[in-house]
């Protein structure tokens, strides 16, 4: 197990380096510097600014400097928010994104696994087709359509819930953003659960358990749920990536000061270090999460360790 874990960690490092290098190159290959404004600066001023941010150095050297900074958690200074470092900006906005994302994942798992199992037990019946149709609809409708429609319905017309984040307190402001983020994940997890549950319920050990007289719920809880959850567990990596992607839109629509909003603002302002920092931050998060999922998978299903 230790060997497997170490190998996985070693395997994640090149992935991470590849991501950082790719993002770094893309930002630096961009035509037009970050300080190109409508007003043309005198060449001396421009040279000074470039020297201040070490932009006059050759690219490999800049990249090394960036990597060294990363090991200390330093993502460099923001080009637009003067006097703030990128790490600072991400640090203050990440808690908001984390709360939303964690809530969305928990809800998605509960409803997705529940709905999927229910559909599997009613395979072919109306209830099954209804749940599956609903989940296909959930997968198809993009986050940026769900969010404004929910706002229009529950905030503007019915006025049950706040439309935005600022100026409101309490749980109410979490409801709509979390639902929006969770919806496609609920749908996806339900489909995955249904498929693998049907598969597992047809296996011999389940039949044996049933033959011994165990009730359906008990069979699922004690015998079927663990093997049936393996595909869902593998999906957790992409699920996190999906929620992060969705949070970009959700934070923009609901005006939530999170990392997604930071990213969009940074992209609009051509704040290259900020955009680069967010990409590196989120990519590391996803890679780390995939790593944890891989290790958890090996704990639940020891066979993968020996492949």
């Amino acid at each position: 197990m230790l060997r497997y874990t170490l190998l996985r960690i070693l395997g994640a490092i090149p992935t991470l380096l590849l991501v950082i290098a790719l993002a770094f190159l893309m930002v630096h290959a961009a035509p037009g510097g970050p300080f190109d404004e409508e007003r043309v600066l005198p060449p001396e001023v421009e040279a000074n600014i470039e020297a201040h941010y070490n932009l006059d150095e050759p690219l490999p050297k800049q990249f090394l400097r960036y990597l060294v900074g990363l090991t200390r958690g330093d993502l460099g200074p923001s080009y637009r928010y003067r006097g703030h470092t990128v790490s600072e900006l991400i640090g203050t906005s990440f808690p908001n994104s984390l709360k939303l994302g964690a809530l969305a994942i928990v809800i998605a798992l509960l409803l997705g696994v529940g709905g999927g199992t229910y559909a599997a037990l009613r395979q072919g019946a109306f209830a099954d087709r209804f749940v599956m149709g609903l989940s296909m609809t959930g997968i198809s409708i993009p986050v940026f359509v769900v969010a404004p429609v929910l706002v229009l319905l529950f905030a503007v017309n019915l006025q049950w819930l706040p439309a935005g984040w600022s100026g409101t307190e309490g749980v109410g402001r979490y409801v709509l953003p979390v639902i929006t983020l969770a919806l496609p994940q609920i749908a996806y997890i339900a489909r995955l659960t249904r498929a693998s549950m049907i598969d597992v319920l047809a296996r011999d050990f389940v039949r044996t358990a049933r033959a011994q007289g165990l009730g359906t719920l008990r069979v699922i809880r004690v015998h079927a749920i663990k093997p049936a959850m393996l595909p869902v567990l593998s999906y957790m990596g992409p699920a996190i990536a999906g929620i992060i992607t969705g949070s970009v839109v959700v934070e923009e629509i609901f005006g939530i000061p999170g990392v997604g909003q930071l990213f969009v603002r940074g992209a609009m302002n051509r704040d290259y270090t900020l955009v680069l920092g967010v990409v590196v931050f989120y990519a590391s998060l996803i890679v780390a999460f995939n790593l944890i999922v891989d290790i958890l998978y090996a704990v639940i299903d020891p066979r993968v360790r020996y492949r």
Partner: protein, 268 residues
């Protein structure tokens, strides 16, 4: 089979409307009607879907948006098809260590938050229309590569490929002439599932203001504009949003149905 026919029919109607619709309307997509700013849908002035905050006819703009959205999606899917089929066929046919390395690379790419890279690309290179196609196609080829590789692994062992190999046909020619045609069926099935993904990415970018630019429009751009007006004029949001959802749903249901129908090896 019924699902495929119904969803295919709906998509066909939408596509025909998108091509022919603008000719039926007396309005065009840029002219401002000062008498009808944010007008509700009505026959008055032939604004069947109403107008936006600049008094532009939303029916024509929506039809144009569908056109752009579908076009981007189809071209992007073709890009991903070419990359995915080539990559998967080579990995599957050559096999061995090459295959292991190539597929490991695909696994690595799967772990990346692609949309962020696309956004980075759009920011760095000034929202180039052509770049949207390439960027979306370049991120959607992974599934295709995996599926094609799996199929190729099976095809490689078949007698007709062996016969070709024994008669001295070169490897590129075998892949091109003997393997590729046999992949056609499965590739077509999976393209129908790639198209909605491409639509999603394009409209996502356009919604953020990074994709298709004014006065050109796409469904994502229209939804974005609709969000700004939704409190006074809900139709500016609801019409393009529901059409976008309908198109995505049809493609997903159709792809799902096609896969169930033709890809027996895919469970359920």
């Amino acid at each position: 089979m019924k699902t495929i026919r119904v969803t295919g029919g709906i998509l066909l109607v939408i596509a025909i409307a998108a091509v022919a619709g603008p000719w039926l309307s007396p309005n065009d997509y840029v002219t401002t009607d000062f008498d009808a700013i944010l007008a509700a849908p009505s026959a008055q002035g032939s604004h069947w879907f109403g107008t936006d905050n600049l008094g532009r006819d939303l029916f024509v703009r929506t039809m144009l948006g569908i056109r752009v959205t579908l076009m981007v999606a189809i071209v992007a899917s073709l890009v991903s098809l070419v990359i995915g089929v080539a990559y998967g066929a080579i990995a599957g046919y050559v096999g061995g260590r090459v295959d292991a390395v190539m597929m490991r690379f695909v696994d690595t790419l799967y772990a990346l938050p692609f949309i962020f890279f696309v956004i980075l690309l759009m920011v760095a290179f000034e929202r180039n229309f052509l770049l949207i196609f390439v960027a979306i196609g370049a991120i959607n080829w992974l599934d295709m590569a995996r599926i094609v590789r799996g199929q190729t692994l099976g095809l490689r062992e078949r007698e007709f490929v062996e016969a070709a190999r024994l008669t001295g046909v070169s490897t590129p020619r075998i892949v091109l002439r003997h393997i590729a045609p046999n992949l056609l069926g499965i590739v077509i099935v999976y393209v129908t599932l790639t198209i909605p993904q491409a639509i999603l990415v394009e409209s996502f970018l356009s919604f953020l203001g990074l994709g298709v630019q004014e006065p050109q429009t796409s469904l994502g751009t229209l939804v974005d504009a609709g969000v700004a007006q939704m409190e006074q004029a809900s139709w500016t949001l609801l019409i393009p949003a529901s059409l976008l959802a309908l198109i995505l749903m049809c493609f997903n249901f159709m792809g799902d149905g096609l896969r169930d129908h033709f890809d027996a090896r895919h469970d359920r």
